[in-house]
């Protein structure tokens, strides 16, 4: 039997998951990382991506849009918005992409010169969002129109 640790996934609106898990794959801002029991304590921010939770009985996936994760004795992911993979449909995804596109446009308007900063960040957010769609097999059509 593999070692387990306590894992909590909470969003401001509800508690999505609280269970003993063997590993969690977290989409960190600076790259994906997998936390297993006895991981060094760390705090990282999240980018939009897939959060993969491995329990002894199987694997669960969540789509998260941002937030941060705290890894210590236990792992807590505080996601701004988190949706179980199964519940993610085209409409929900479209709304998320739409939001990212709007943010990108707003950032571009605010700073027409492409300087590093808000514009790049918004663009990266959008790209991450599109990557999420490709991964889960949904079509980021809103993004295609506006690129």
């Amino acid at each position: 039997m593999a070692e387990t640790m306590q894992f909590d996934l909470v969003s401001p609106e509800r508690n999505l998951m609280s269970a003993a898990v063997t590993a969690v794959q977290i989409p960190g801002t600076e790259g994906d990382l997998t936390a297993m029991p006895n991981h060094a304590p760390m705090i990282t921010t999240l980018r939009p991506g897939i959060l993969k939770v491995e329990t002894e009985t199987g694997t669960q996936e969540f789509v998260v849009t941002g937030g941060f994760a705290e890894i210590g004795q236990s792992v807590s992911v505080l996601a701004e918005k988190a949706v179980p993979h199964g519940d993610m449909d085209q409409a929900t995804y479209d709304a998320l992409v739409e939001e990212a596109v709007m943010a990108y446009k707003a950032a571009k308007e605010a700073a027409p010169e492409n300087e590093p900063g808000p514009v790049d960040e918004a663009a990266k957010l959008l790209q991450d969002m599109v990557a999420v769609g490709t991964h889960i097999g949904l079509d980021p059509k809103a993004a295609n129109l506006n690129y």
Binding site: P12, E13, I43, T45, F68, L78, K81
Partner: protein
């Protein structure tokens, strides 16, 4: 002396009022349950968030490069008061007590020569403050179309406040809302959100675990602080929603009871005058018979 007909009409009108208040009380009770559940759901997030942010703030707070949201602008000349009230009335002293709290604060600030700006959330507070402080309003957030308060609503309010902060429109921001304690007790509360304030971390929270930060400690803090504002506003909105329903429930309960008492009183009066009329008629008949 009102006639029998008048009394009858009054009784039936009070009866229908009682029906309405009774219905409102039951609706409020159902909504209260839902509001309390929502507040319950958000609690784990808020608690963890604050613990984490508190720890981070304590370690970075002292440095000169700490973000402005944490350390403040170095002045406290302009105060922003965010007054959160309900969109609807008929909820007892709920709105007035929040407004009263805000009013006291405004007067204190004004007396010490500070500039005050007011952002209202919810229609009722705006109406009550308009007369005396209408010129201090800088904005209003309308939540009357929102059926269920979501995190996105809090984020929008937070965004509005943060933009104003970035434009250096104010130095200190305080939110006013009502903390839900029980159905009969809601406590109007003022909470400072900018610069952020944290409860002193409990004994073991500080320093026992050394975290690694990715990206840097300060980058994370800069990312978290705006979210902290949104989180605080979100939990205040939820508390407020629960308080509003609680206050409405007890107000309507009182109203229903009062209506019941009034109906009893009116019924007695109605019966008395009915008897008086009967007695009168009898006397007339008897004295008529005697005169013959």
């Amino acid at each position: 002396m009102p006639s029998l007909k008048d009394l009858k009409n009054r009784i039936s009108s009070v009866k229908s009022t009682r029906k309405i208040t009774k219905a409102m009380q039951m609706v409020a009770a159902a909504k209260l349950r839902r509001a309390q559940d929502a507040a319950e759901m958000s609690r784990p997030y808020t608690e963890r968030f604050n613990a984490l942010l508190g720890g981070l703030a304590a370690s970075v707070g002292g440095s000169a490069t700490a973000p402005k949201l944490l350390s403040g602008t170095g002045k406290d000349d302009v105060h922003m008061l965010v007054v959160m009230t309900a969109e609807r009335g008929l909820c007892g002293g709920f709105n007035s007590s929040i407004v009263k709290k805000a009013r006291t604060q405004i007067e204190t600030l004004k007396a010490s020569g500070k500039t005050v700006k007011i952002l209202t959330v919810g229609k009722k507070g705006r109406e009550q403050l308009k007369r005396d402080y209408g010129d201090l309003f800088v904005g209003h957030v309308d939540l009357s179309d929102v059926k269920k308060i979501g995190y996105a609503d809090a984020q929008n309010i937070a965004k509005d406040i943060l933009v104003r902060f970035d434009n250096e429109e104010f130095d200190v921001a305080t939110i006013f809302y009502s903390k839900f304690q029980s159905v009969i007790s809601q406590v109007p509360t003022a909470q400072q959100v900018i610069p952020a304030q944290f409860d002193a971390p409990e004994g073991d929270a500080g320093g026992s675990t050394l975290y690694e930060y990715e990206p840097g400690e300060e980058a994370i803090l800069a990312d978290l602080l705006p979210r902290g504002v949104a989180t605080q506003i979100f939990s205040a909105l939820l508390e407020n929603a629960a308080s509003e329903q609680g206050a409405r429930m007890s107000a309507m309960d009182n109203a229903t009871r009062n209506a019941g008492e009034m109906i009893d009183k009116l019924t007695i009066e109605y019966n008395r005058s009915r008897q008086a009329v009967i007695t009168n008629e009898l006397i007339e008949i008897i004295s008529g018979a005697e005169a013959l």
